[in-house]
């Protein structure tokens, strides 16, 4: 039995030698990039906090303790309250930790809606071309004729101020970018010789898409999505900041900054720490995305392999 597994692993290794070599190389490049590693660490912390954050907060992030409110309110950072307290005496460290979940939830939801929509529409537009392509791309162009934040504000204002409407509004704004990337990639692969050959010998459309086009589309999509994770967090924070998006008492980073402005700069910690949380989270995604782009772009990878060593 064990021998079977061993021999299976061995043959699998032999069959996929080229792939394994490529992964090794990617790992090597990744390990050499301190920026990408830093990004990965930030992102991992963010995701872990997003999942368990609300359970490990030292204080209740939402409930107001009226009995101690008066002496606890607007306290500067201390060992008791790392990030100080807000005007209701709530521990800001707990609220910032809990806020990770809201940001993670919104950005995950946006990706879960925008990526599949963008992928499907982009594949259809790129692969079939013609009228379908024309219609899809015209609609896409109209959406891209607005700066994303402005359109998100318009949608969000129409749908009403809430986390849910922010999610929908940002998703509505975000899919066109993916359509464009997927379509471009699909078009270029569709015209490649091996796809033309596959079509000539009668390989089915679904198989061509699955075997040839999807794997090539996924790579740039992953890079773009990673970079976009950060942008979505920024946009959702901006929506909350101007009063759309998350509503009190939900601990949301953008909202915390908006609330803290009233007390700025005397109670600087109220705005400072939530902003720091946004900044490091978004920076993490951007560092990771930037690093991934370097790794997944073969042209760039080669450059790293042959980077100037001597003088």
């Amino acid at each position: 039995m064990i021998n079977n597994v061993k021999s299976y692993i061995k043959t699998w290794k032999q069959r996929n030698e080229a792939k394994i070599k490529e992964w090794r190389l990617m790992l090597e490049v990744f390990k050499r990039s301190p920026l990408a590693l830093t990004g990965l660490i930030f992102v991992t912390i963010f995701i872990i906090l997003g999942i368990i954050g609300p359970y490990i907060t030292p204080y209740d992030p939402i409930k107001i303790e009226f009995s101690t409110m008066l002496e606890e309110r607007l306290q500067p950072p201390s060992l008791k309250h790392f990030f100080g307290t807000d005007e209701y005496g709530r521990d800001l460290f707990s609220r910032v930790l809990a806020g990770a979940r809201v940001s993670l939830m919104i950005s995950l939801a946006v990706m879960a809606i925008a990526i599949p929509v963008g992928l499907v529409l982009g594949l259809i537009a790129g692969y079939y071309g013609g009228v379908v392509d024309e219609i899809i791309m015209r609609i896409t162009d109209v959406f891209l004729s607005f700066p994303g934040l402005v359109l998100a504000i318009a949608f969000s204002a129409t749908l009403g101020a809430s986390i849910w409407s922010a999610m929908i509004a940002i998703s509505l704004v975000w899919w066109p970018g993916y359509v464009r990337v997927v379509r471009g990639q699909t078009l270029s692969i569709k015209q490649s010789l091996y796809v033309e050959a596959a079509r000539a010998i009668g390989v089915s459309t679904s198989k061509i898409i699955r075997r040839h086009i999807l794997p090539n589309v996924i790579t740039p999509l992953i890079v773009l999505a990673t970079l976009d994770f950060g942008s979505v967090i920024l946009v959702s924070a901006a929506l909350s900041f101007i009063g759309l998006g998350a509503q009190p008492p939900t601990p949301e980073w953008g909202r915390l900054i908006a609330d803290g402005r009233r007390w700025f700069p005397e109670k600087w910690w109220y705005t400072f720490f939530p902003g720091l949380a946004i900044f490091f989270t978004v920076l993490g995604w951007n560092l990771l995305g930037d690093g991934l782009r370097d790794i997944l772009d073969p042209r760039f990878r080669r450059k790293i392999e042959f980077k100037e060593g001597g003088k």
Partner: protein
């Protein structure tokens, strides 16, 4: 014929993370005035690097680490960047492989010829240089040169673009033209036209041509003398007739037998077993040893380049005449 260019023990190394690539490692040869001197070899044998090193056109991570390039008696490698720039495009002009990427897409063909004239003839007005550019376009047999001078590269065909590039290179009547694979990226019919044009211009201006190619057909057609390179080393130099009738080095023989019809392209030489060596882990001794069917123990030492008959040099232990 007198000597125009003498290259002595030229070494160009590339310093990469993976290791030092000795792209050109001790290459010596001479080019005589008025001749067509060809350098042949497979991709990566160092022929293009040699050509570019002559006017110090080597960029990092590459570096010219040794040797001399005597042009009319001056060592070009000792010149300052400013001095060598005055030679590039004036005394020594280049023609690069791909005319589509050699021309700047944002400037007209006429302008790109004219700027080559004005940069080397200070005081020339651009307007006059543009007029001269039209003359040059006529010289390189471009129909309707007045109109073509105003065309952008994307409006010209591949053959026409290469004519413009040739026009740029002859615009200052250089003493030496270094043509690096000038026909490789062109259609077969256009290739012949471009070669004819080069020959014609050589006669007209008395220019010496150094031709870099991997196409033995082209070599046979236009060259006077030929140098064969392998893995950064010279393996054989001879006049074209001798080389084709009496090749001595096993690599040259392989090259020639690989091409029953010398007009065929040789992108890859199949009948020679093995591959061009990995340039970082070069085999010890003769670099061709691992692929050579005559290889013996002595080939573990590097063979010298010796003259076996007047004007015929070869780098192989079989012809040293010495003991085993």
């Amino acid at each position: 014929m007198s000597e125009l260019l003498r290259v002595e023990d030229l070494r160009v190394y590339f310093y990469t993370y993976a290791g030092v690539v000795k792209a050109v490692d001790g290459v010596s040869f001479t080019v005589r005035k008025g001749e067509v001197f060809s350098i042949v070899g497979e991709t990566g044998c160092g022929k293009s690097v040699t050509a570019r090193a002559i006017t110090k056109l080597i960029k990092p991570p590459g570096r010219i680490v040794g040797g001399r390039v005597l042009f009319e008696g001056r060592d070009l490698l000792k010149l300052s960047e400013k001095e060598i720039r005055r030679i590039r495009g004036k005394d020594i002009a280049y023609i690069y492989q791909d005319p589509s990427s050699s021309l700047d897409p944002l400037y007209t063909s006429g302008y790109q010829i004219a700027e080559t004239i004005t940069v080397h003839n200070p005081g020339t007005k651009l307007k006059n240089a543009l007029k001269k550019a039209i003359e040059i376009l006529r010289d390189v047999a471009i129909p309707d040169p007045v109109k073509r001078a105003r065309n952008y590269p994307h409006e010209l065909s591949g053959g026409m673009k290469q004519r413009v590039v040739i026009g740029i290179s002859v615009s200052n009547k250089p003493k030496l033209i270094i043509a690096d694979e000038p026909t490789t990226s062109l259609d077969v019919t256009v290739q012949a036209q471009v070669l004819d044009l080069l020959q014609e211009l050589r006669k007209k201006y008395g220019t010496t041509i150094m031709l870099i190619t991997h196409n033995l057909g082209v070599v046979a057609e236009v060259s006077d003398r030929v140098m064969v390179m392998y893995a950064g080393k010279v393996v054989e130099i001879a006049d074209v007739y001798t080389l084709f009738t009496n090749p001595l080095h096993p690599y040259t023989r392989g090259l020639l037998s690989a091409v029953p019809n010398p007009l065929e392209k040789i992108d890859e030489i199949k009948p020679i077993p093995g591959f061009v060596p990995d340039m970082i882990n070069i085999p010890r001794g003769c670099r061709f040893r691992p692929r050579c069917s005559y290889a013996t123990q002595r080939c573990l030492r590097e063979p010298p380049l010796i003259e076996v008959e007047p004007g015929h040099l070869v780098s192989c232990w079989m012809y040293t005449g010495g003991d085993e």
